[in-house]
């Protein structure tokens, strides 16, 4: 039972795993929207770590930062999806491996 009782490390491990999965997703997936969702996953995992630390110290800074990250994530999702739409409109495709106009 003792091993099952969550500690701060338990929460951080969950956060870390989600972050790693998100990173792997950005590196491997080709669908632009899914890549985007993986980025959201990474942001959320970091939020989880921040809330954990905020809880640990009983300090508002972590919670405040989570709040602001959420707002920025919302803004970023709006702009990002607008970019996805405009790419799709031009190429009829959002495979990010085909979006390489910045290639040498």
């Amino acid at each position: 039972m003792d091993l099952l009782t969550p500690t701060i490390l338990s929460y951080l491990t969950v956060s870390l795993l989600m972050f790693a999965i998100g990173t792997i997703g950005v590196m491997t997936r080709r669908n632009g929207i899914v890549v985007f969702m993986c980025i959201e996953l990474m942001l959320n995992s970091v939020n989880l770590a921040l809330v954990t630390f905020s809880h640990m110290w009983d300090n508002p800074a972590g919670s405040m930062l989570v709040f602001f990250v959420m707002c920025v994530a919302a803004a970023e999702a709006v702009v990002g999806l607008a970019i996805v739409i405009s790419i799709f409109r031009n190429k009829q495709d959002i495979d990010i491996n085909h979006v390489n106009i910045f290639k040498w």
Binding site: I8, L17, M18, I24, M56, I94
Partner: protein
């Protein structure tokens, strides 16, 4: 800091398993709609984890903003674009292998860094989980970033409109 209660333990295990399942589902679903729904599951689970930590306000905001607003927007765009299923999610090449190895190496290294947190108990009261202390902090010590966020949001709004609109009069 006191040890976690039984309820907290149950909440943690339930939602961490569900959340990781959602994350894996996002990683391996070739259909974008299913991937998005996996992510919704993950977001709900994270809200549950917030609850288990006593962060009630953030749990509510998590559901409202992420699951309610952002994911709806994602699904809306996925359906609007009507794209094909992604191929080769399960195939193997050097780049994919490297990505997985790096991901796990990162986890392993961070575990070494974080191992000292094992002794920190995760139970007890969390003052800043409630609405009132958060509201007080937002409108006093964090007033300036709070105001700046409104500028970020309006800029994002204008930017999105500019990027996504049809450029009909541009050519010629």
């Amino acid at each position: 800091m006191e040890a976690a209660t039984t309820i907290q333990t149950v909440l943690f295990w339930t939602f961490s398993v569900l959340g990781l399942a959602g994350a894996v589902g996002l990683l391996f679903n070739r259909n974008a709609v299913y991937a998005a729904l996996s992510l919704v599951l993950n977001f709900f689970s994270i809200a549950g984890l917030y609850l288990s930590l006593g962060a009630e306000f953030l749990a509510a905001v998590q559901i409202l903003v992420y699951a309610g607003a952002i994911m709806v927007l994602f699904l809306f765009v996925i359906m609007l674009l009507n794209m094909q299923e992604e191929k080769g999610v399960f195939t193997f090449d050097i780049r994919r292998g490297a990505a997985f190895i790096l991901g796990f190496a990162f986890v392993a290294e961070m575990m070494v860094v974080l191992k000292g947190f094992w002794n920190h108990e995760a139970g007890g009261e969390f003052t800043y989980g409630k609405v009132e202390p958060i509201g007080r902090a937002l409108l006093t010590d964090y007033l300036f970033p709070f105001e700046m966020i409104s500028i970020v949001l309006i800029a994002a709004l204008i930017g999105a409109i500019l990027v996504a609109r049809r450029h009909t009069h541009q050519e010629g």
